[in-house]
Symmetry: C2
């Protein structure tokens, strides 16, 4: 029979790390989490988790409610949720809500009556009664719902400070900030971070609001660059918006990174494929999904939750849309 | 009470179109399918489909088995499957298989004992006994499993003929074909289409095999362009490979489209974000998912299936990686 030692050996980590991961009892790096998940899977640790769970648990489905799986931020999140859920013997029901409160409410109200053990939710309906009164375990991603529902979020404000400073350190003197939709908490936290960092410098700046959408962002940036040719840096609140900014720079005839530098926010795979590759403040999306799932399963299994707020660090990934730091 | 007329009016299509869509009894365009799905959803046609189904059906979960949701081809597919499933009162369980036969087998064997009504499967385990003997409704996407399991696929071979001719018509005389993995049916159909079209021309050509992976494709293309500077066209079997080719062209210092033209295959959203935008043979991924889901639900509900093979047409999308057609 496979033991936790076999899993640790296969994953190339310590037994303590495997234990921390499986019990959610301390820090585990994203790489280690992936390795342990893969080893558990490969070795069929605890027999086959799908079979084990389906045979022993009454309810083993987790609902994942997100706005739209085709937004490039969400597939990696869904992957992490499914990987970790499977490790614990749960499977995942995919629910695209389109941010439509009626759709969310229907999913919650009706699925919970049947066999859903809990929900992981990314939604803007912060104060919706169907969450507050759901009476089923819920973990929120990125957006606080109420005090009783644990939240997993990136360190968005600090990330925006890092991204803004990346432009300032590389000589930008006139920064355009692409602010995300005002109804989104993460977008507002990024705005706060940008404002904090830019006000500590003597650089000029300008803020425009635009959705996390490629073509809309391209249009907004083309206009801004035409109106104000002295803009020499753009900090976008999402990678999709940054891709639109890069496209706009090309159509306006601005050279990136030589006379215009761009930094995105998210760290989705597409950023690497752009030319030049996108410098970005990368969220650890896989880890966010993994943490959310482990916290949810602890709730479902009536284990103690230590915190109500889990913040996952971001990091700056330097690629070709920024220059070397000025000496 | 909402009627089929209300749905048709809301969707801006005829009652006959709504009926064809809901009964899968004839052609419905992808745009019409989306409009009807949205109207059904908005008007809560047939009451609330989630509630209706959960209260009346014993089994209303569909398993979607795919290799990896983070591959950019699959999120749009998953979205279509969930949209159409919801219209009929089903919800979708997401299963990432990593093309691992054990994982697939576990999902099928254990979920089907519990409450899964059927599966939509994208897999290379063509002859795996866990599919042939599953004894549960299955629809295959892209890959034939056996005679009894309906298949929904793009017209891959014809698409490759179209893509190859797009390069030849634009003056390419030496075409590099990036062939996908030889164990994938769609990749082989695209290879056949390329060979058929290129052999009818007097252009030079070269075939290299590489995975549907960005960095690997970049490396392969850098090498090929260094070894053979006379290559003036690249046809990639996937958009991710085409993105790698475009990146390689940049690092080697080739001008796209002026002295090197590139065509991809897939039509994923990322293609638009590249600079220049990617010319590609676009699959109607949403329609593939929608057709597969409707065929599966017909099977589940013991309705007659007219065909065992559904081919969804592809189309050429012209963007910036190709020049104008030579006069």
């Amino acid at each position: 029979m496979t033991t936790i030692k076999d899993v640790a050996k296969k994953a190339g980590v310590s037994v303590a790390t495997v234990s921390r991961f499986l019990n959610d009892s301390g820090y585990v790096s994203a790489d280690a989490a992936k390795a342990v998940t893969a080893a558990v899977d490969e070795l069929k640790y605890e027999l086959n988790p799908v079979a084990r769970s389906l045979n022993t648990k009454k309810s083993n489905l987790i609902g994942l409610i997100l706005p739209d799986i085709t937004n490039p931020f969400f597939p990696e999140l869904a992957r992490a949720v499914e990987d970790v859920a499977l490790t614990y013997g749960y499977t995942v029901v995919l629910c695209n809500s389109d941010e439509n409160p009626e759709k969310e409410k229907n999913y919650i109200e009706t699925l919970k009556k049947k066999y859903i053990a809990g929900f992981i939710v990314t939604s803007n309906q912060l104060d919706a009664p169907h969450y507050a009164n759901a009476n089923v375990p819920i973990v929120a991603l990125d957006r606080a719902i109420n005090d009783k529902i644990p939240v997993v979020s990136s360190n968005n404000k600090e990330g925006a400070v890092i991204g803004t400073n990346a432009l300032l350190e590389r000589g930008c003197r006139n920064v355009l900030f692409l602010r995300g939709p005002e109804e989104l908490n993460p977008a507002n936290d990024r705005y706060d971070g940008f404002m904090e960092a830019i006000r500590q410098s003597d650089a000029d700046y300008q803020v425009v609001t635009c959705p996390f959408h490629f073509a809309d962002s391209q249009k907004v940036v083309e206009q801004a660059l035409q109106d104000n040719p002295s803009i020499d840096g753009i900090f976008a609140s999402s990678d999709v918006s940054a891709a639109g900014a890069l496209k706009a720079a090309g159509t306006i005839g601005r050279q990136v990174p030589d006379d215009l530098q761009i930094v995105g926010f998210d760290g989705v795979a597409m950023g690497e494929m752009l030319s030049p590759g996108l410098t970005t403040v990368a969220q650890d999306v896989y880890k966010m999904g993994a943490v959310a799932t482990r916290v949810l399963i602890k709730q479902i299994e009536n284990k103690k939750i230590e915190q109500s707020f889990y913040e996952v660090p971001v990091k700056l990934v330097i690629r070709g849309t920024t220059r070397s730091v000025a000496e």
